[in-house]
Symmetry: C2
Subunit: 416 residues, 2 copies
């Protein structure tokens, strides 16, 4: 590389998205890029010309290591879908003018489906106007729902967090023997894809039992079948643990979290107060079985839990960042770097690049044949798929008892 490059982050953050940023930075520098700019809050920020020179924030190798261990989007993120060119050509021209001004040779975007849509549109527009700027995407999504790539950066760390936390919660729930039993419902992220929720099965190890039931959004949820299963389990054991995706829904498409609001409860401010999926199901069990019930939501902690990163995930995320840079440097544009699983046991992986036109806006869900017949647990195929991705640990750098992160290059102060 001879000129400058720019990188941005987009969409919901993960515990590994900054490792890809580190990979892009290191590879671009290594390949001779003069400056590596970082867009603050993605394309949205770039349009307002808010960016930083990453060298000012990554002053040495320790900074790189801390960056890898920093959760959330270091550069800030955005949810901004580029309009179609014919609807707002001016916006494209403005963006390209900014890029030209910064003497940009390659533009990298770390993100999920929407971000790959951005790469696609910008690469296409570059062709139209004859710009030689390369546009390459780097995958990211905790949900693991991107097409083509074997898995996504960030998924492995979230899966490790989920397996570990669910294991601890199961143990906690078993400590006290209640005559009428107790149901614990754990809610895990995933609107349409059950990859994260399936990882709860990792809590089952040779010395400890896993969850009793796991419900993914890939299979229609049947409240009556659920009731039968939990009822039968409560006759056998005093602590029943159920893991559910936030997005599970009945056959007619109604989200389970909406079932609880059937009486149209509206709070004092006119807001329909939706209880969560787990909260509704826990409440349902308490009512049906007259037992103690508790709901646990892993919430944003599951994607921000950088203190429990998977070494495989962090390493791969770093490498895929480097692969994106290599691709751009070799002349690719309109591509996304992807993961290829070379073999499962021993686990081996490689990176590749793929035409982004075939990726954007496609959602990968858990194959039905990886879920059991009743639709209430994942099968061994799923475990075999996810297990290599949670291997190894990245030790947090603790300062005064708390993990150190790299200071944000932006503030949350409102820009008036």
């Amino acid at each position: 590389m001879k000129r400058n490059v720019i990188v941005g982050q987009s969409g919901g953050p993960t515990a590994a998205i900054n490792s890809s940023l580190a990979g892009i930075y290191v590879a671009a520098k290594e390949r001779g890029a003069a400056k590596v700019y970082g867009m603050i809050h993605g394309v949205q920020g770039l349009l307002e010309e808010t960016y930083v020179d990453l060298s000012a924030h990554l002053k040495n190798d320790l900074d790189i290591e801390i960056l890898k261990r920093t959760p959330s989007a270091f550069l800030g993120s955005c949810r901004f879908k580029l309009p179609e060119v014919h609807k707002d050509k001016e916006l494209y021209d403005k963006l390209f003018a900014i890029l030209e001004k910064l003497d940009i040779e390659a533009f990298f975007y770390i993100g999920g489906n929407d971000s790959m849509d951005t790469i696609k549109k910008l690469a296409d527009y570059a062709l139209v106007i004859g710009s030689d700027i390369k546009f390459v995407g780097c995958p990211k999504t905790v949900d693991n729902d991107l097409a083509v790539t074997d898995h996504t950066p960030g998924y492995g760390s979230a899966a490790k967090y989920i397996g570990t936390s669910v294991k601890e919660a199961i143990r906690d729930a078993s400590s006290i023997e209640l005559k009428k039993g107790q149901v614990t419902v754990i809610e895990i992220m995933g609107r349409n894809a059950g990859w994260l929720t399936g990882a709860a099965a990792l809590a089952g190890t040779e010395e400890a039992e896993g969850p009793d039931l796991i419900y993914l959004p890939e299979v229609a949820f049947d409240l009556e079948a659920f009731k039968k299963k939990v009822g039968a389990l409560l006759k056998e054991k005093y602590s029943v643990v159920v893991c559910v995706s936030e997005g599970i829904h009945t056959a007619d498409g109604t989200y389970v979290c909406e079932l609880g609001a059937s009486t149209d409860y509206v709070d004092a401010f006119g807001h329909k107060q939706l209880s969560g999926t787990a909260s509704y199901l826990a409440s349902y069990c308490a009512g049906e079985f007259d037992c103690k019930a508790r709901s646990i939501e892993l919430s944003t902690l599951q994607r921000a839990g950088a203190h429990l990163q998977s070494e495989v995930d962090i390493l791969e995320s770093f490498q895929v960042g480097g692969a994106a840079v290599k691709a751009a440097d070799e002349g690719d544009s309109g591509k996304m770097a992807v993961y290829v699983r070379v073999s499962n046991d021993p686990y081996q992986f490689a990176t590749a690049v793929h035409d982004v036109h075939k990726i954007a806006n496609e959602e990968k869900v858990v194959p039905r044949e990886w879920i059991n017949g009743d639709g209430d647990y994942v099968k061994q195929e799923f475990i075999d798929y996810v297990t290599p991705l949670i291997q190894g640990e990245v030790e947090p750098i603790f300062v005064n008892g708390i993990p150190r992160h790299l200071p944000k290059p932006f503030t949350t102060a409102k820009t008036v």
Copy 2:
């Protein structure tokens, strides 16, 4: 020691309660105890003569290390308050007969207020009937609300988990800039004492901002004042993070989580569905400020998060178990081992024993002078108190990517 000892665990579990169990086991063996029995599910289980010989489960030093890293009560726990002697003398005689049969020399109980009440009653009864069995308590409570002891085993690890998780959640919440702002309300355990919630302040470090507001149950919660503060913050910054104890309540004693149920919403099963404190306040903010709002409950994960133990906590918990054994071996009964803070900087601690009659059923709350005037943040005194307790880490023993725990010596199968 010449004969056998027995140990039980009681009340809500923590991430350190098994380190105290390890301390008791190791010290009792070291001091010559023939057998160390473990009551399954505390006194409740002992009354049904369910106990184990701990040597069968702790076969080597590795088992001891894994036990220290195992969350929840290894022996199972119970919530069982001994009746007054005059109300059920038979129960006492039954318990003592079992202890005599097992040739018990000393009885240890790891737990909180209720457990110390058990120690007190049994020690008193031993005096009445002329039994020479020693009864000594070992403190435990994630809530840190035990009197006399400087702090409690389990608190430091929970505080470390809370400080770390809140730091990660704050970073996550700051990634996307929303024009109307976003309020994140994080709910932390503590019905009457704010020790755990105050630990959220640890998320504020030299490189990262902490929560914006912290509300403890020690100060009456004023919804109007809360609204003013959050409103003012939303004018300054786009991400506002508030930490609250589950037990915050208004001046008239109404729990904040009850405010949301004012319209008496009852679900299909006749259950009044209470939203949590954080969920209510997030909903309130969304309504008042027309902004995005999210609630996060740290739930049981904060007390079961053994993958993020504080080294100081685990070491002290182990030592206080040993101190309990030493006390019994030296003839003490009706005592509890406690922590004494010798100095703050450098932090030094010692163990001591204290008359359990002066401990039982007393609750220690955060001193008002450690909370700011407005009652919405902890002061430096609080930070200085908690900081030494979260120092150092205990590396989990990962097997196949997931922390290893010691297998439970009991099952959750229902005993018919």
